[in-house]
């Protein structure tokens, strides 16, 4: 199987790619506050930065899973 066919086929773990969008955006109304500061950042900014980092992590895991397919 070529690498192309791996993502052509939808696999259950591909759904995880939606997690960052949902987590980031759905959380904004609740994360819209200054306190507590995390690493010096106001909480809202920290929330967004944390999800951007999570996006790379989640996509990285999906990529590794796709690559490990025989």
């Amino acid at each position: 199987m070529t690498s192309g066919e791996k993502t052509r086929r939808f696999r259950a773990y591909h759904a995880a790619a939606a997690i960052p969008a949902i987590g980031l955006l759905a959380g904004i109304p609740f994360a819209n506050r200054v306190e507590p500061y995390v690493f010096g950042l106001p909480f809202l900014l920290f929330w967004i930065v944390a999800w951007v980092v999570m996006t790379s992590l989640i996509m990285g895991i999906i990529w590794l899973l796709d690559r490990s397919r025989p």
Binding site: I28, G40, L45, W63
Partner: protein, 489 residues
């Protein structure tokens, strides 16, 4: 002559030299000129795709929004991450379809999928209408950056003309290879510059990030959170979603997809690019640092905050380095926009009007259109007033209208006919134009709506009109065709 100007001049010369040298050893067919012969590996594709992260909009506008508006600026950090996660699935599909068919432009993709030249012309018009104001904005930004960073010794007009001339030379000579080579220089410089000032300024003026943000919150309570109306959480969520949908609908993005040698590149990029764009965070830090150090920049002047605070904090040569990095944020996206716009004009509009145009003539025409397009953009950058801002805001909403028809075309066969796709896009574009020209928002259209509806990005309406028209035509036309066939029989 000051040392800032010397540094800017040297970097400018290196960039143009690299851009011209990039051609070496390559003939310049349209496929070479516009797509680098479809032979770019992971690094070049990464640089072209990351090129969009740091346009003059992020450099000046990102810091300007942080300085002038506070928390609403954070939206700039959100949409890229979402678009990149989505690109993991979208871009390999686009590439695999385009590669064996030798597609050159975004419009080619629609023409091939829907088997309709008309939709190609429509998509081309949408693309060019969106691209030209974007190019104008880059040139305007270039003028501001160079005149500020050279301490006024070069006027914006001089900077715009010199920048445009250089852009024309290396785009005509090297095409997208020139963009890729200069993008390498740009990303190294901008990373170094932005991270340095984003770390230094808060430490130098406030003693740390925590102290800086606490001082800002103390001076202007509520500045670091979203307001409950206006640019509220609802506004951020709807704007991020719309922008993420529109992200890969820009024609120059399609072209950078076609430059790739294989499709594994896009999956790696989807993993790396969210982290990479965190550098925008440091642009915010610079804008926030400026908030209490150089107060009083109102309206459009807020975009100067990064450069003004840098001039106060650093020696002229360092300001020159910052200005030079800013100059590159205009040249690289500017070159990609120019290539895309002229490729579309030659390939998807001229060729339809004059059937039988050879590949060679099309390639020559695309390159010949570069000076014309660049000249027009430079004139608009110098003369254009508010109209350009309206056009630019329209631009993003314009390309976003391509999203439904593109997604529905991705299967082995499009799920809708060309008529439905055409009608949906056309209806969406007309709605965008009507909304933009009249300056409407949901609050002005439906004054009695509850607040959360009023804060929705008005682009949602155009997308909704698009989808409804697309669905209606998609249902009616096949039925009419069946009925017509029945009558014939």
């Amino acid at each position: 002559m000051n040392s800032a100007l010397v540094v800017i001049g040297i970097v400018f010369a290196i960039a143009v030299g690299l851009g011209v040298l990039a051609r070496r050893g390559h003939d310049m067919s349209l496929e070479q000129w516009s797509l680098g012969g479809r032979g770019f590996g992971a690094v070049f594709v990464f640089l072209l795709m990351a090129g969009e992260i740091y346009t003059t909009f992020t450099f000046l506008g990102g810091s300007g929004w942080a300085y002038g508006r506070g928390a609403p600026a954070f939206y700039i950090l959100c949409y890229g991450a979402i678009a990149y996660s989505f690109s993991y699935f979208l871009l390999p599909v686009v590439w695999r379809y385009a590669q064996p068919r030798r597609l050159v432009s975004q419009a080619d993709f629609f023409v091939a999928k829907y088997d309709s030249r008309a939709i190609g012309v429509l998509v081309s018009l949408v693309g060019v209408t969106a691209l030209v104001p974007y190019l104008v904005l880059q040139l305007k930004g270039l003028g501001i950056i160079v005149s500020e960073a050279s301490y006024g010794s070069i006027t914006p007009a001089w900077a715009i003309w010199t920048g445009t001339a250089a852009l024309v030379v290396y785009v005509v000579v090297s095409g997208v290879r020139g963009s890729a080579w200069t993008a390498a220089l740009k990303d190294v410089m901008i990373l170094g510059v932005v991270v340095s000032i984003g770390i230094y300024l808060p430490l130098h003026y406030y003693g740390g990030y925590g102290q800086m943000f606490r001082a800002i919150e103390h001076a202007k309570p509520g500045f670091l959170t979203l307001p409950s109306s206006g640019q509220s959480p609802v506004w951020v969520i709807s704007t991020v979603l719309l922008t993420a949908l529109g992200f890969y609908m820009w024609p120059q993005y399609f072209s950078s997809v076609y430059t790739a040698r294989n499709d594994e590149v896009f999956r790696k990029n989807a993993v790396m690019l969210p982290l990479y764009q965190l550098v925008i965070l440091f642009v915010f830090f610079a804008g926030f640092a400026a908030f209490l150090v150089v107060p009083g920049l109102e309206g459009a002047a807020a975009d100067l905050s990064l450069l003004r605070v840098s001039k106060q904090a650093f020696d002229p040569w360092a300001v020159g380095v910052i200005g030079a990095a800013g100059l590159l944020t205009a040249l690289v996206p500017g070159s990609m926009i120019l290539i895309s716009a002229t490729t579309i004009l030659a390939q998807n509009i001229f060729r339809v009007l004059v059937p039988g145009t050879s590949d060679r003539t099309t390639a020559l025409l695309a390159r010949g259109l570069v000076p014309v397009t660049a000249f027009a953009a430079a004139v608009m950058a110098l003369r254009g007033g508010d109209a350009i801002v309206t056009l630019l805001l329209m631009g993003y909403n314009f390309v976003t209208q391509l999203f439904p028809a593109l997604i529905l075309s991705l299967g082995t066969r499009p799920r809708i006919g060309a008529a439905a796709a055409f009608a949906g896009i056309a209806a969406g574009e007309l709605t965008v134009a009507a909304i933009s020209v009249s300056g409407s928002s949901i609050a002005t259209l439906i004054p009695s709506a509850p607040q959360f509806l009023k804060d929705l990005n008005v682009g949602i309406i155009a997308l909704a009109v698009n989808v409804v028209v697309l669905a209606i035509v998609g249902v009616v036309v096949p039925r009419a065709e069946i009925a017509a066939q029945a009558v014939v029989q």
